[in-house]
Amino acid sequence: MDQILFNLSLLGEYPIVNLKIIIDGIMIGALFALAAYGLALVWGVMNVKNLAQGDFVIAGGYVSWWLAKYGVHPLLGVPVAFIVMWGVGWVVYKLVITRVVEKDLFTSLLATFGIAIMMAQILNLLFGSDTQSIKLDYDTLYFFDGFIDVPIAKLIGVLLAATLATCVIIFMKSSRMGQAIRATSQDARAARVLGIDTEKVYAFTFSLNSAICGAAGAIVVMVWVIQPFYGITHSIRAFVIVTAAGLGNLPGVIAAGLGIGALEQYGSHIFGIGYQQAIAVMLLLAVLLFRLVQQKRDRKSLQ
């Protein structure tokens, strides 16, 4: 308790720290939002809850890290990871996901859980279990007597994430494939009747998700660290964000991602960093409760 009061008093004493916490949180949230964004797509369109989401992120990170070892610039690793993971996503879809798309919830959960374990282990065998990261030789910008620091590498990461998200939103809104994806997500049978090849849409959606994750991973490896077994961190955050934002609400996913990032940072500053993940989960609970109450009032909830 004393600790909590002391932490609060620090916030009062140095108001500028509030700004720093929010900036840090948004930079973290932006990266989590990216993976969540892919999850929302797959969940909304195919009704597949992909537990391997985080492992796709880590795999993308390794693609970029591996290229960087051979002298490829890490920023170039982002599009390469996007393309490579697109391929990986497509193969995974054809091998596994296509068989579980229209099955019940548990089949797809089990299948993707299996994929998660497989991927972590394969990455471990390929690259070893050391933590890896890429150090970009960019400076850090300091504001307000050095209280606020914005590493340019992180800034680039956030900008890349924003660009990628914008591209996907535009693609979904205006392209033919985007329209087909949205149609399928609304009603797969009706889409089929109208001549949309839903199998193709599913394959495309899953590959796109995998590619988004891959690009996110390539950014993560520049600003944090990766290890074959860290996928679960990203999976949990992605689930929390998507559940909080609701399906089919892509801008909402981004907003929720940024919000959770910032609130986590606040919470960990006040209650101690040990409670950071607990705070994410508590937020999820709060959102779900709020939703339930709201739906009860509108008589939409199931009894």
Binding site: Q3, N7, L10, E13, Y14, V17, K20, I21, D24, I28, Q121, N124, L125, G128, S129, D130, T131, Q132, S133, K135, T140, Y142, G146, F147, D149, P151, K154, W224, V225, Q227, P228, F229, Y230, I232, T233, I236, Q265, S268, H269, G272, I273, G274, Y275, Q276, Q277
Partner: protein, 408 residues
């Protein structure tokens, strides 16, 4: 009789001439068992440990094997992969003992796995010499058959506190003026480290201003570092396995955190020098062993010779420093050899008693066990990263370099 001895002698000489190993070939096999993490999150260090075991076995065989009575033996280890999971480790230990009939065990990697396996070896009264489980809690259970060659974890960073107190006195301040910040992962090993630091800080009456526990899955510690920047401690202690080390080094530089003394664990495992270059300079890293130490023994030679020969045998280590995980694994095998020879029998109770009485100088340091089974004869070493090199700066009797202080 005389003729026989002469024959044996000349055969021995010939064998020596044609290399040690052919001589050792004639020895019988002595089987040890080990469940070790070859896959899963501890795979890297698990393989380091396994290589350490195998290298020691090879060196001992080259030096005439294990002589018990008038017979000679070579170690052979049955390995199973515990997938870095405790329950799996315990099952495999049962299997080693019940199905493979193993009578002596080498330890797994990590305190957690050792904790899972120790009750099994204890139940079957199988002596286990372990080299990779440092948690203090392993030695408060009253285990009779568990022995560890390494220093326990509460000693890992405690020496940094002593060092900070020394520095305070040198600059005319009182040790009790030193303010300590602690950020450790929430797992048994790191909590031991924290306990050791708190204990030593209390001894000097120092004030602990930040005391945070890092969650296991976290790769961002900006919240802690922001706080550190605000309260300006004199010592910052971080322990969170290789992820914690990598995250700390990266973000301390990014956030431009200035603390006169920063001590962390797992510097080598995270390869902070290779990954972050100059950002890692002047950080203190704790280690069980360093190749520059002046320890030596008849089998492995000096610490430096151990490193050279190990690199020559396992060429994948040529580019990096040999991790201490490997050295202590080798030391564990050496303890077994020494104990078997002193016991003079394969009876496991006699061997257990011989292990308990070990007082052995090795390339890894002195090994002498307390009643609880931990090694109480070897100190922890602090090294400072100076221009990308790991230089020993504490304890002072082994120090090869001066401490750069204050940092940054």
């Amino acid at each position: 009789m005389k003729k026989n001895r002469l024959l044996a002698f000349s055969l021995g000489t010939i064998a020596l001439l044609f290399g040690h190993s052919s001589f050792a070939m004639d020895c019988e096999e002595l089987v040890l068992g080990a469940a070790i993490s070859l896959t899963g999150k501890y795979a890297t260090n698990g393989v380091h440990a396994q290589n350490g075991y195998e290298f020691a076995i090879q060196k001992i065989a080259e030096n005439g094997g294990v002589k018990i009575g008038d017979k000679c033996y070579n170690f052979r280890v049955i390995y199973y992969d515990d997938e870095s999971k405790g329950d799996r480790g315990a099952t495999l230990a049962e299997r080693l003992i019940n199905q493979d009939g193993v009578q002596y065990m080498l330890g797994p990697y990590s305190s957690g796995l050792t904790k899972a396996i120790a009750p099994v070896t204890e139940k079957y009264q199988i002596p286990m010499v372990e080299a990779e489980g440092a948690s203090r809690s392993l030695f408060t259970q009253g285990y009779r058959y568990l022995f560890a060659v390494l220093s326990t974890s509460e000693q890992y960073l405690a020496s940094a506190i002593t060092l900070a107190a020394e520095k305070a006195e040198e600059t005319g301040k009182k040790p009790s003026d030193v303010r300590v910040a602690i950020a450790v992962e929430n797992d048994p090993f790191s909590l031991d480290i924290r306990a050791g630091v708190l204990e030593d800080a209390a001894k000097f009456d120092m004030q602990v201003v930040v005391d945070e526990k890092l969650p296991r899955d976290l790769s961002d510690m900006s919240a802690i570092l922001t706080k550190v920047k605000l309260v300006k401690p004199d010592v910052l202690v971080v322990s969170g396995h290789s992820k914690g080390a990598a995250t700390a080094v990266r973000q301390i530089e990014e956030q431009n955190v200035k603390v006169p003394m920063i001590a962390i664990t797992h510097c080598e495992a995270a390869d902070v020098v290779g990954n972050f270059g100059a950002a890692a300079n002047d950080i203190l890293c704790s280690t069980q062993w360093a190749e520059t130490l002046s320890y030596s023994d008849p089998i492995f030679g000096t610490a430096a010779e151990y490193e050279q020969e190990f690199k020559a045998t396992y060429t994948e280590y040529a580019e990096k420093t040999v991790p201490y995980q490997t050295a202590q694994a080798s030391a564990a095998v050496y303890v077994f050899k020494d104990a078997f020879e002193r016991a003079g029998t394969l009876d496991k109770e006699a061997v257990r008693d011989a292990i308990a009485k070990t007082d052995l100088s090795t390339f890894y340091g002195q090994i002498r066990f307390s009643d609880a089974g931990n090694n109480i004869a070897k100190p922890m070493v602090l090294r400072q990263i100076q221009d990308g090199k790991y230089n020993v700066v504490a304890p002072s009797e082994f120090a090869s370099h001066e401490l750069n202080w204050p940092r940054g």
